[in-house]
Amino acid sequence: MARILEHHAKQIFAQAGIPIPEGYPAISSDQAATIAEGMDGPVVIKALVPVGKRGEVGAVQFAEDSRGAAMAARDLIGRYIGAYMVDTVLVEERIDIESELYLSIIIDRDERKPRVVISADGGVSIERVAQENPDAIVSDTVSMTRGLPEYRARELWTQAGISGPIIPALGQLTHRLWRLFVEHDLRVIEINPLFHTPDQKIVAGDAVMSVDDSAGFRHPELARFVVPGTDRSWRPMTELEADAQRVHELDPYRGSARYLELEGGNIGFLCGGGGASLLLYDHLIEAGGEPANYAEIGGNPTEQKVAGMTRVVLSKPGVEGLFVAHNITNNTQTDVIARGVVTGIEHAGRDPRTTPVVAREAGLHDEEGRRIFEEAGIRYLGEDTTLSEAARQMVAAMTSGGER
């Protein structure tokens, strides 16, 4: 689930007929000043980072003139918001407001339907409104086939306590937002705050769009907007993570591969599949081990992919051993895993005879897999060794060094 930065999302809004404030991105304080001068009035300066609740961490600032805009831009550019360094700010006209509203469409995974969420109490986090003023929120599921027509949207807004000449505009805007949600295969689309102006207009104060990575193939129009790696929301992708992603994308349709770099640790973790890797990581911790990363590889990957992931896992400084383990496989060929691991260890410049490596690989072609591991001097464990026992043996191998 990758995010689209606010100024790009707003471009998409504008094309869909959703009103937005006038605004332009700036990469320096001088540029911010020039933009503010052109606005001829108070402005808002916002850090363009893929982080939520920016208002609460000082990433949204207000200025009365171009000097103030320059100061705000100078303050924000180069600063970290969460783990993201700000390199661009959005300088926008400040809108006169009568009230602030809230509108979003999300996928409700429990109801297994899209859900539209509306609130007359916008500008603050919706989680807070849900706690402090739950009656202000109106929400309902939407059928993919029937959609969200304007009349339904008007009904919801009136339920939220809104009335008067703004109702038709809200109905229209909500329907347009629904169409964007469907057209771009979005997981989340949110406007908070949604400004209600004194002259009875509706303007999107913010724009959050999260795209569905698995629908990327049919949305080339979004590719240049998507910030990669923002499915991992607390920090940008590390070099090793980007390296692992490149390894995977060489042959994206053969097997799964993901790598998450973690702080500290000395055991390189290369396990699978999706469920067993979670269990194996738990077991490694319980046994007193210190994994340096989480990596999952499965779904019958190619030898090249296994080798690449092995190299990445072993490349992290401080990694002294390697834990390779899977559940008994359905279709993943353990001999291919074995060849990939041995090649990857070589590419990382390590000697499997002196590096502690434990492999628990049972299932398809495991006799051949065992032969390859053992010829390379790697400790092989088969189906008779349980996953938790394999984890204990890995931790024991670390303390005894590579010797056996």
Partner: protein, 297 residues
């Protein structure tokens, strides 16, 4: 719900001419599954391992009367394949495809709800019933008996691989499997673990169920509710993986798309707690599962 699969199964494979589907088809036939037909638009008239291939599901139904479909087509084509199967009257569908756009899955689930179709998956490795020697999907691979031997334990797993590992654990402990179901690793799936409990509640050949759970979703919480409300009364042993993810920043997916903790929901510690409170036995490792099952019996 009647039994999900047994030896009366007549299987259609949509996307049968694909590389993966060909291999899976030959393994299914070898195991004993009656694969009656395949569909790949444009390849009607061909055959795969002796199984006739048709251009449309309608033709396959007229000629071969399948009772269920395994869908193994690319992500972009899955919604269309599901729509074709449902509109042709197929009421049990296993979707192997991974990485389907979420909006397409929402549409499929609307179609299945309206028609009363049971969907297993997406991203399911399949369903196996060792006592009848039938399976749908890659589950168990080429040699299912290595992991799945006939027995009286039902298995429901959010992980395809762990479905097999649980089967192996049971076999090594001298137990066996009645039916094992890989529900799929996504958050949006046709049949959740809780809805599948009915299958095992009614199956006289199932004495107890093993559930393999993961972080994210409310699937395990729903199972706990089913037990608490006495909708499921047989012993249930749960193993919930991924406790470590609670100590990492939230919002990251591990392993499966659905294994993601957001806010307070989806925490393995909470899943274990509510399951235990409801009366399920919670295993700390796979090694404990057989012991907990035997104590239960």
């Amino acid at each position: 719900m009647t039994r999900l699969i047994d030896d009366s199964l007549r299987l259609l494979v949509q996307g049968i001419t694909g590389r993966e589907a060909r291999m899976v088809t030959s393994h299914m036939i070898e195991y004993g599954t009656s694969v009656v037909s395949g569909v790949t638009p444009g390849k009607g008239g061909e055959d795969v391992d002796g199984v006739p291939v048709f251009d449309t599901v309608k033709q396959a139904i007229v000629e071969t009367a399948p009772s269920a479909s395994l869908i193994s087509v690319p992500p972009a084509a899955t919604l269309d394949a599901v729509g074709e199967a449902i509109s042709s009257g197929i009421r049990l569908i296993v979707i192997a495809t991974e990485g389907i756009p979420q909006h397409d899955v929402l549409r499929m689930l609307e179609l299945s709800d309206e028609s009363g179709t049971v969907i297993i998956g997406p991203n399911s490795v399949g369903v196996i019933r060792p006592g009848d020697s039938v399976k749908i999907g890659a589950i168990g691979g080429e040699h299912p008996a290595r992991a799945f031997v006939p027995g009286r334990i039902g298995v429901i797993s959010r992980s395809g691989g762990m479905t097999a590992e649980v089967g192996l654990t049971l076999r090594l402990a001298g137990l066996g499997v009645s039916t094992a179901i890989s529900v799929g690793g996504d958050a949006l799936i046709g049949s959740t673990p809780a809805t599948l409990l009915a299958e095992f509640q009614e199956d006289p050949e199932t004495d107890a169920v093993v559930l393999f759970g993961e972080p994210g979703t409310r699937f395990e919480e729903d199972v706990a509710n089913h037990i608490a409300e006495s909708k499921f009364t047989k012993p249930l042993v749960a193993l919930i993986a991924g406790g470590f993810t609670e100590h990492l920043p939230e919002g990251t997916a591990f392993g499966h798309a659905a294994a993601i903790i957001e806010g307070d929901s989806g925490r393995p510690s909470n899943k274990r707690k509510v399951l235990e409170t409801a009366g399920a036995r919670v295993a700390r490792t796979l090694d404990d599962v057989a012991g907990l099952l035997k104590n239960a019996g």
